[in-house]
């Protein structure tokens, strides 16, 4: 299956705005993040939150074909 990845803030600066990935069915968000970290060990220390199709999810969330998966640091909006 294919999913669309998006990165924001610190992660965007390290990894770019996003990419497409082919994954095995049943891959979880947490497993996907671990594979990204293996490719880019420098991001290992970064705090990360996960969203799938614009909703927060836990690392155990299983991905589906066509999902939009966002990785970002804890938010810091407001004045």
């Amino acid at each position: 299956m294919r999913v669309h990845l998006k990165y924001f803030a610190t992660l965007r600066e390290r990894l770019g705005t996003g990419e497409e990935r082919a994954l095995r069915a049943g891959t979880t968000v947490g497993a996907l993040w671990e594979s990204i970290v293996r490719e880019q060990p420098a991001i290992q220390r970064l705090h990360v939150r996960f969203a799938v199709n614009e909703r927060y999810v836990e690392p155990s969330h299983e991905l589906a074909e066509g999902d939009e998966v966002a990785f970002f640091p804890p938010v810091s909006g407001g004045g």
């Binding site: 924001f8 614009e54 927060y56 810091s76 407001g78 004045g79």
Partner: protein
């Protein structure tokens, strides 16, 4: 009047926000503006820069407004967050709430800005004299420029 839940560049049009929550059944409107301070944690801030996950941010703002209306007898809510560069003194976020009476309008507005800062996917990068830093618990180790700035305090 159409609902206003927006992420956008450029100065926030406060009059438009107030018009969006106007309602003859209300007796109180509370407006919160979050503005760029010229200092933070001992750093001389020159400007802030915001980035958003646009669609999710607007969806979360709508969710927060719905939740506020469930909790308090609030009539209308409007929220705008600016992205891109926000100079010192200008507003980066505006929240307007109208209600029958002031107590619930104040309470709901206070709750909305607190929750926005906790969950709406927007990030702030501070530009200060000597460097830049993303605000919030980003990582275990600071960037070199940040380290130098902190060492100078």
């Amino acid at each position: 009047m159409a609902e206003v839940f927006e992420i956008g560049e450029g100065p926030i049009d406060v009059a438009r926000l107030l018009a969006a929550v106007g309602d003859p059944a209300t007796g109180a409107t509370v407006l919160f503006l979050g503005t760029t301070r010229n200092q933070n944690a001992g750093r001389r801030v020159t400007r802030l820069e915001y980035e958003a996950y646009d669609r999710m941010a607007r969806r979360e703002m709508r969710e927060l407004a719905r939740e506020a209306r469930r909790r308090w007898p609030v009539r209308r809510v409007a929220m705008v967050h600016r992205i891109g560069v926000v100079p010192v003194g200008e507003a980066s976020v505006a929240i307007a709430v109208s209600a029958g009476h002031r107590a619930e309008a104040f309470t709901a507005c206070h709750w909305l800005i607190d929750r926005l800062k906790e969950i709406v996917p927007i990030w702030k990068k501070e530009h200060f004299r000597g460097g830049t830093v993303w605000i919030g618990p980003q990582q275990g180790a600071p960037e070199p420029r940040r380290r130098r700035a902190q060492g100078g305090r």
